[in-house]
């Protein structure tokens, strides 16, 4: 079956611009997660959705970052006024309840 998909696969933007990253979870998975992975590091937790609501957004680094999941399926991670330090691979994962998390291929964000 189809796994987690993320678009775009690569995004290059300029400092100060706004970006949106999209995640399509595995059908039927109620839980959705966003992580950020820098080179040579493991993924770092950003936010967790159970259904439509953000149950835990404690990993978002600051108020430039925001994520939504309006219908309990697709999620969008939004970053305002991008900075060079935001450059990383943004990973999305989904799971049935809080079981094993299945990851998408990621979006590589580069801020020039």
């Amino acid at each position: 079956g189809a796994g987690v998909s993320q678009t775009p696969s690569n995004k290059v933007t300029e400092k100060g611009k706004y970006v949106e990253l999209r995640c399509d979870p595995i059908s039927g998975h109620t839980a959705l997660y966003w992580y950020r992975q820098s080179l040579g590091q493991g993924p770092e937790f950003l936010i967790y959705f159970q259904g439509t609501g953000a149950a835990d957004d404690s990993g978002l680094p600051n108020d430039r970052f925001f994520a939504v999941r309006p219908e309990g399926s697709v999620s969008t991670l939004k970053i305002q006024r991008t900075e060079r330090g935001d450059s990383a691979v943004y990973l999305c994962a989904s799971s049935v309840q809080n079981n094993e998390q299945f990851f998408g291929p990621g979006t590589r964000l580069t801020v020039l």
């Binding site: 937790f45 990973l91 299945f102």
Partner: protein, 111 residues
């Protein structure tokens, strides 16, 4: 603060040379320890979940074990296609959803 530490950072093996990767953790009230495999340019691929000390799980040439302080990923007679970064993660912050990852072990298996 919950921490996950993996060693070694990198490991080179000859095909058929068995070895083990280590994951030590300091997490209050472990609710699950996970192993993932990550190939370059791809997202982590789920391998195993372990919940309690003494538990073991196997898949092909891989076996994961868990004690109260650490987990091992044993690789028996590896093949070049086993080359990847292996990530260990734990549920953290007292939650059953937030994963804290280690930095990973980059495994290279030479033919």
């Amino acid at each position: 603060e919950d921490q996950v530490t993996q060693s070694p950072e990198a490991l080179r093996l000859q095909e058929g040379e068995s070895s083990s990767l280590n994951c030590s953790y300091t997490v209050s009230g472990l609710r699950g320890l996970f192993w993932y495999r990550q190939d370059p340019g791809k997202g982590p691929e789920f391998l195993f979940t372990l919940y309690s000390a003494g538990e073991e799980k196997e898949k092909e040439r891989l076996k994961a074990t868990l004690t109260k302080k650490e987990s091992f990923l044993h690789i028996t007679a590896p093949k070049p296609e086993d080359s990847a970064t292996y990530l260990c993660a734990c549920h953290s912050g007292g939650s059953n959803y937030k994963l804290t990852f280690g930095k990973g072990t980059l495994l290279t298996v030479n033919p």
